[in-house]
């Protein structure tokens, strides 16, 4: 059951990141356009945030790793995305007035709004690998499975958001749904009965 939640969290986290990344292009367009350099700025920020997240997630997994803490990462990532809805417009307008060049404007805006939630999402995968692996000869196999779930989730998040969700919902409604599902999944994982320490169980 723990493993199920680990894979589910990794898959959902992949979905969450790509859905937010696609919406971020939409969110920046009114202030910075949707030229190729705006997408360049967005993708750069997401990649850097994920890179840092991998580093931090792996590092944090050295200290008393648990499924509960993995769920806390998920919850923190969702919470960090809330300001995108609440502060998005004022932040974008502030940057618009501050920076003339839409390349650096979109880079700074994407950093301010999306860097922290994406970093937290990046922490999920390496942390989850630590929870799954108990024998070194299985490590590659399990890491492969986990990346499968996470990247499959990313593909699903990309497709569903760009093909369907934007056709029926407003951006903030989609964000609310994404954040809500993350919080729900995090709480379900932490809920008593699922809160056994995964590392202890696997030793």
């Amino acid at each position: 059951m723990d493993r199920f939640f680990i894979f589910l969290i990794a898959g959902w986290s992949g979905f969450f990141v790509m859905a937010i990344e696609l919406l971020s292009g939409r969110i920046l367009a009114p202030n910075f356009g949707n030229s190729i350099h705006v997408w360049g700025g967005v993708i750069t920020v997401f990649m850097l945030a994920l890179a840092l997240g991998y580093l931090l997630g792996g590092r944090w997994s050295l200290y008393d790793p648990s499924l509960r803490r993995l769920a806390l990462i998920l919850i923190a990532g969702a919470a960090a995305a809330i300001p995108v809805m609440l502060l998005g417009d004022p932040v974008l307008d502030w940057v618009f007035d501050l920076i003339q060049d839409p390349r650096y404007g979109s880079l700074l805006s994407a950093t301010l709004l999306f860097f922290i939630p994406t970093t937290l999402a990046g922490m999920v995968s390496p942390y989850a690998v630590r929870l799954l692996v108990d024998q070194s000869q299985l490590s590659g196999h399990l890491a492969g499975l986990l990346y499968f779930c996470s990247t499959f989730g990313s593909a699903a998040g990309t497709l569903l958001t760009s093909f369907y969700l934007v056709l029926y919902f407003e951006i903030n409604q989609i964000l609310t749904g994404l954040i809500g599902i993350s919080l729900l999944l995090g709480l379900l994982t932490i809920f008593p009965g699922n809160s056994k320490n995964a590392s202890r169980q696997s030793v």
């Binding site: 009114p30 910075f32 030229s35 007035d97 056709l167 407003e170 951006i171």
Partner: protein, 282 residues
């Protein structure tokens, strides 16, 4: 949209960051198109014998904006194409200040090289995203008596240029009696959404349609002028428009305020703008 015949003579191709640009000659016309499949979206065409004559219905309808204000002194055009509109307007009004915003530097280059588009101190080109230009200009004291939105074609709509918020920013840029002309193209179910969106910002507008696919929206800040005012302006301009190959007899009957759309269609906003999905046939 058209299927180029085998008589098509390609004279230039250019890959830009945004698209492939194709310049070709066919049936005594030189055209710029943006795709190289069997179906090409013609952006701009010029008659080789009479380069001043307008080829497309939609450019003629865009000039209908002059019936709402026959002497614009400051003009903003979003979307260059071959530069047909700025070239004609600068010839008609040599003293007018014309600003053109075009996102794609390659389009500007091709327009200059192959379509006789000639920027000068009165005709300035800004190579940037239309939305960014409009938002930035709105914060300055710059205002325009005529704004023409011409950034769409059949195949692709920059979705951030078809939202209520964008149109409100455009409205900020218009003088108290400013005129808006928007070339929108749509014939799909986007037509209804587009209509309610324009209506929500500009209220009543003239809706010019020919050949199903061509649609131009004309609005005025201080209310739509009545028919006789428009006819007066049409007479004033008749000589100048004849040089472009058309006149009031063609343009006047197109002026309509009939609402032929579903008034309940959801208004497009920055939060909800799936214009290309709504425009595709499904």
């Amino acid at each position: 949209m058209t299927t180029p015949s085998t008589a098509m003579n390609i004279i230039h191709t250019e890959k830009s960051l945004y698209r492939n640009i194709l310049v070709y000659e066919e049936d005594e016309q030189r055209c710029m198109s943006f795709t190289r499949h069997n179906r090409t979206a013609r952006q701009s065409c010029q008659s080789l014998d009479e380069p001043d004559q307008f080829v497309f219905s939609y450019t003629k309808m865009m000039m209908g904006a002059l019936y709402l204000n026959p002497h614009p002194r400051n003009i903003l055009i979003v979307g260059l194409g071959g530069g047909v509109l700025p070239t004609a307007l600068s010839r008609m009004f040599p003293d007018a200040g014309i600003d053109v915003v075009e996102i794609d530097p390659a389009v500007v280059k091709v327009a200059r090289q192959f379509f006789g588009f000639n920027p000068n101190p009165n005709v300035r080109v800004f190579e940037e995203d239309g939305r960014v230009f409009v938002k930035r200009a709105g914060k300055s004291s710059q205002r325009y008596e005529l704004i023409m939105l011409d950034a769409f074609d059949h195949e692709y709509i920059p979705e951030h240029l078809l939202t209520r918020e964008f149109l409100l920013e455009v409205k900020t840029l218009l003088t108290a009696d400013g005129v808006l002309a928007a070339n929108t193209f749509s014939s799909s179910r986007l037509y209804h959404h587009e209509s309610t969106t324009y209506q929500s910002v500009f209220g009543l507008f003239y809706n010019l349609r020919v050949e199903l696919k061509n649609r131009v929206v004309l609005a005025k800040m201080d209310g739509l002028p009545l028919r006789d005012a428009i006819e007066r302006n049409a007479n004033l301009l008749e000589e100048k428009l004849k040089l472009l190959g058309f006149g009031g007899d063609w343009l006047m009957p197109l002026f309509s305020t009939d609402r032929d759309w579903n008034p309940d269609a959801r208004v497009l906003t920055d939060q909800y703008s799936p214009s290309n999905l709504l425009n595709s046939a499904f």
